[in-house]
Amino acid sequence: MSDKLSRRKLITTGLATAAGVSGLGVAAVLADRYNLIPPDHGGVFGAGETLTYAAQRILTSHHSLAREFNRSDISKVAPVNGPPPENETYQRLKAGGFVDWRLTVDGAVARPSSFSLADLKRFPTSTQITHQACEEGWSFIAEWTGVRLSYVLNLVGVHPRAKYAVFFPYENGQPPVAWWESIDMPDAWHPQTFLAYGMNGQDLPGPHGAPVRLKVARQLGYKSVKYLTRMTIVDSVKNIGKGLGGSNPEIGYSWYAGI
């Protein structure tokens, strides 16, 4: 009797384990196939990062829009973390009113290009009044003006195998880390992802990332890279830095910050 029971138990447990393992295998293949695995999926916290990213990508797959607010909701105080870069090139560009500033766009694109501030301002203008939260906990609402990143992506012709848009700023005083960040293509094509050159009706103020910053509405503030100089489109971030998708993951922060 007990022999039978234990054998049955053994078979059930074996089958359940096999089903579990193959289920996980299938899930991993499907997750990879549908781009649900973040670059920082390894390590102690990798399982949590992957579950959060995959779950949110599935939930937001229809390009859900971040909440928009009224002009009267705009915060009077909009804090920043740290001053503009002391980088020599940046200082020279700033002194010249950013006339000579260019955004270089290269990588997996049909037409590598470089855009001046005037070019970007000539493109169709979009605005959004959205909430931006810092990972530390504070937040503010501001109106951002700029060009949708999707417009620029269409201009340069993104290769179908592209998976990430990678952004490099002029260093903003955080050595020894070379600053960079990346977003996936769903966020890159998202209608609220801007190359923002204006804030609250004025030119983008220095400490907020002048002349142009990225604005990613559905993620924490550290994904909205300031002081942009270059964007490159890639099919993998493995060979950039430590391969984790940004300098923030290299110092322990999550690559995906939809929270």
Partner: protein, 242 residues
């Protein structure tokens, strides 16, 4: 055990105990997984809070705007909020999946209805006053009393399971710009992202308070017996068989 082999009476009692454990296997396993995940959530929650130990009401808040609570803690940037957030989310996944398993099985097996939902007699004012008085006098429960949950336990557990934890989950999700882009209502009902953060903080405090009282009561009711009951499932009402 060797003793019981010679004493049929004790053997039978043991068998009864094994047949109907004080806590089911599922309750025991989920209890300890939950303990681990709650510890991870609490530690990492403090880590995240330390990056900005000020709480606000409404949609926005930061240095230079009015706060509802300034905790007398240092602003610690860099460290604790980075690994803190990763640990917080990993623990939250464990907590939620484990909690779902516990809640669904509790509904399915009628554990909540039979063992936690207070009856009419439980809710009588006289009974509540009596149980409350016993608690305040730190009176050890009698054998008969410790065989089931008293009204205060029932209400406390139900509140934790069906009010506080769901509130933690919703206020947590309400802080996510990605989640609220799909379900804006979950942040609007709390009056804004910073309000959700503040409520998340206060509910966390209630949960920690519950934990302290919970552990204190376990100690008061007999730490060894209660721990054995939650680990092996064996209730030893009255005599300690060890």
């Amino acid at each position: 055990m060797a003793e019981s082999a010679y004493l049929p009476g004790v053997t039978i009692q043991d068998a009864n105990v094994l047949d109907s454990p004080r806590h089911s296997t599922l309750v025991r396993v989920t209890h300890w997984i939950h303990t681990l995940s709650f510890f991870g959530l609490a530690v990492s929650g403090i880590g995240i809070l330390l990056a900005h130990p000020r709480l606000y009401w409404g949609e926005t808040g930061g240095v230079g705007t009015p706060s509802v609570l300034d905790l007398p803690l240092p602003f610690m940037l860099g460290g604790p909020s980075s690994w803190g957030r990763s640990l917080h989310f990993l623990s939250a996944w464990v907590c939620i999946l484990n909690g779902l398993l516990y809640a669904l099985s509790g509904l399915f097996t009628q554990h909540f209805r039979r063992n936690l939902l207070p009856g009419k007699a439980d809710l009588a004012t006289g009974n509540i006053t009596r149980v409350l008085a016993n608690h305040l006098r730190l009176k050890r429960p009698s054998d008969a009393e410790s065989n089931s949950y008293n009204v205060l336990q029932r209400l406390a557990y139900l509140t934790v399971v069906f009010v506080l934890f769901p509130l933690m989950i919703i206020t947590g999700l309400a802080m996510s710009p990605a989640i609220t882009s799909v379900f804006p209502a979950i942040v609007i009902i709390f009056g804004g992202q910073q309000s959700a953060r503040t409520i998340h903080f206060f509910v966390a405090n209630f949960l920690v308070l519950f934990l302290i009282v919970h552990v204190a009561m376990v100690c008061l009711a007999g730490f060894k017996n209660r721990m054995r009951a939650m680990i092996t499932g064996q209730a030893t009402a009255g005599k300690d068989l060890s």
